[in-house]
Amino acid sequence: MRLLAAILALALSAAAAQAVEPNEILKDPALEQRARAISKKLRCLVCQNQSIDDSDAGLARDLRVLVRERLSAGDSDEAVVRFVVARYGDFVLLRPPVTPATYALWFGPLLLLLLAGIGVVVFLKRRRPEAAPAAAPLDADEKKRLTALLADDGLSR
């Protein structure tokens, strides 16, 4: 029980740990919240699978500061994201935008699901008529043979 509590405490503290340093945080809480939301959407290009909000890399820090500067200067959230995308490309977005180049990414799984669904329907439809007919009851002769077989222990031969 104590171990569980310790593990829980560790897990929670890990979740609370942030890359954002105290001196980066904006005084205006609403602005800071917008900055955090934007930072979570932007990829740290040095570590590539972390957002700049999670990363301790120097570039991530610079980008966090930049996001806050642009917001403080009065930019909208979209303008800030556009500013970064214009310099680093769509790859900087952790959630790739829907463009012709990413259609396969966005709609591929749906297409596969659809194909699989069609496959299942076809499979079930084809199987039904082939289902085995209900077994006919045994006639007197067969019953007699069955009793004989069951009585035979296989050793008496």
Binding site: L45, L59, D62, A86, G89
Partner: protein, 196 residues
């Protein structure tokens, strides 16, 4: 007896279509493996990103010279990049790969018809000066960048090298060390083409 042969026949045709179905996963796997093998063997490093700035004008920036080096090399701004084919090299004294590519940058600076400028990224002035003194200074101008210029240029690691045409438009970007082969096979042909 004839019943029996009928049954086995229908069983074999059914078996045949089923066999095709059984092979399908193997085919799908094979196709997938081929695609993956293609990308693995193509030598393309997925960590290297294409620049979003290709064919865009150089970003607006203005950098002071390295502190204590201003007597030798002036700072760097957007306006300094027009009028000749220019190589913009991001470097730092703390960056070991930068040292590996330094001979290639030195060679470029001795070429006719190309201007080589440097952006010294997040460096201590004393360390940068020491590095340039020890290894040679190939740059016509050097801007000292605290990090913002790198973002303007879409730089995400050291070193990175850009080639700009005479109008100051970015035409090529190389991420990482400019090796001797990179210089010969990629960079020089591009410079030759842009110089015309």
């Amino acid at each position: 007896m004839s019943d029996m042969s009928d049954m086995t026949e229908s069983a074999t045709t059914r078996g045949r279509t089923q066999h095709l179905l059984y092979i399908l996963p193997v085919l799908v796997f094979g196709a997938l493996a081929a695609v993956i093998a293609y990308f693995m063997l193509s030598g393309r490093d997925p960590r290297l990103l294409p620049s979003a700035l290709i064919d865009q004008p150089a970003p607006e920036f203005k950098l002071p010279p390295i502190e204590g080096w201003e007597g030798r090399k002036p700072g760097l701004a957007t306006g300094d990049l027009r009028g000749a084919v220019t190589v913009v090299n991001f470097f730092a004294s703390w960056c070991v790969p930068c040292l590996a590519e330094h001979p290639q940058i030195m060679a470029l600076s001795k070429m006719e018809g190309v201007r080589v400028v440097g952006i010294n990224h997040k460096d201590r002035p004393a360390a940068a000066k020491d590095w340039l003194t020890r290894h040679g200074d190939p740059y016509a101008r050097i801007g000292a960048d605290s990090g913002r210029a790198a973002i303007e240029w879409g730089v995400y690691g050291m070193p990175e090298t850009f080639i700009l045409d005479k109008t100051g438009r970015i035409r090529f970007k190389h991420v990482g060390v400019v090796r001797r082969e990179t210089l010969k096979e990629t960079i020089l042909p591009i410079i030759r083409k842009l110089r015309k």
